[in-house]
């Protein structure tokens, strides 16, 4: 009988690449973002056309650029991990520095995107003391019946100067999440 016969079965957690804590973080992020995405899709069930119009206010190209930045940053971080495992300090630092730099690029691009959205009046409507706390416009501003009223609240929640500047209405609460 050898010592291997008495060895406890190897846990799957021991096979995970990297530290266990980073996997806790990854699973937590997946759970939070997954729940958020499903919540968006559930909200979309109630007003698909309004949701589509809200999406038109966002920067699809900018979102793609940001994805490229994140994908490249992740690639550099993964490369840094491999370099560290091989004991190469210089390349590890270089890859990590570039990954961090792309993180800053992401923040700058996101900041510009948000600034532009805010300048166009996108975001949560201003609340008044009599308004509900649901993020919607006050009841007094709701149209009772009009063409396109299905897109409420956004068609009525944007100040006129912003509407004239953009050429279209905007301002649903869900667009604030970018």
């Amino acid at each position: 009988m050898t010592t291997q016969d008495h060895a406890p079965p190897r846990s799957v957690l021991e096979d995970l690449p990297g530290d266990l804590l980073i996997w806790v973080l990854i699973v937590s992020e997946l759970a939070v973002f997954g729940a958020g995405l499903l919540a968006f899709l559930v909200v979309r069930l109630g007003d698909p056309s309004g949701f589509a119009a809200a999406q038109d206010q966002l920067h699809r190209v900018s979102a793609s650029i940001n994805t490229v930045v994140l994908v490249t940053s992740g690639w550099l971080a993964a490369r840094a991990t491999r370099e560290a495992q091989a004991g190469r300090v210089g390349p590890t630092r270089l890859n990590l520095a570039l990954a961090g730099l792309l993180g800053i690029v992401f923040l700058v691009l996101k900041g510009r995107e948000y600034a532009d959205a805010i300048a166009r009046g996108l975001g949560t409507p201003r609340r008044t003391p009599s308004s509900p706390s649901t993020g919607c416009s006050p009841a007094s501003t709701r149209p009772t019946s009009s063409p396109g009223s299905s897109s409420w609240p956004w068609s009525r929640s944007v100040p006129a100067p912003i509407r004239s500047r953009t050429g279209r209405s905007s301002g649903t609460w869900w667009t604030s999440s970018g």
Binding site: V12, D15, G18, P48, S64, T67, V71, G74, W75, A78
Partner: protein
């Protein structure tokens, strides 16, 4: 291997962007763009998990993530299609004489 994964992710990102930008303009049905984007996102998630995060070396864990990811995508796809079905104008019933 990492660089191949990176180029794959870039290609999938470009396809997602093309689907988001071009499909609505081509007169495609409303569900096509979001469904295509979901499929590309699914593929991207699989590449990230297996290559960037190294789960290709741990098939049992990769399978677990794959199953959960598949369930999530089914739920997301179902909600997407349900919203599109609800948005379609109802066909007018023929007049009864």
């Amino acid at each position: 291997m990492l660089t191949k994964a990176w180029t794959t992710l870039l290609a999938l990102t470009a396809l997602s962007a093309a689907a988001a930008l071009l499909l609505p303009g081509l007169g495609a049905a409303g569900w096509t763009a979001p469904t295509a984007i979901l499929l590309f996102a699914w593929l991207k998630a699989r590449v990230v998990l297996s290559r960037y995060l190294g789960l290709a070396a741990v098939p049992s864990v990769a399978r677990g993530f794959g199953v959960v990811l598949a369930l999530f995508m089914l739920a997301a796809g179902g909600l997407t299609l349900a919203a599109d079905a609800g948005a379609r104008p109802a066909v007018a019933a023929p007049a009864q004489n």
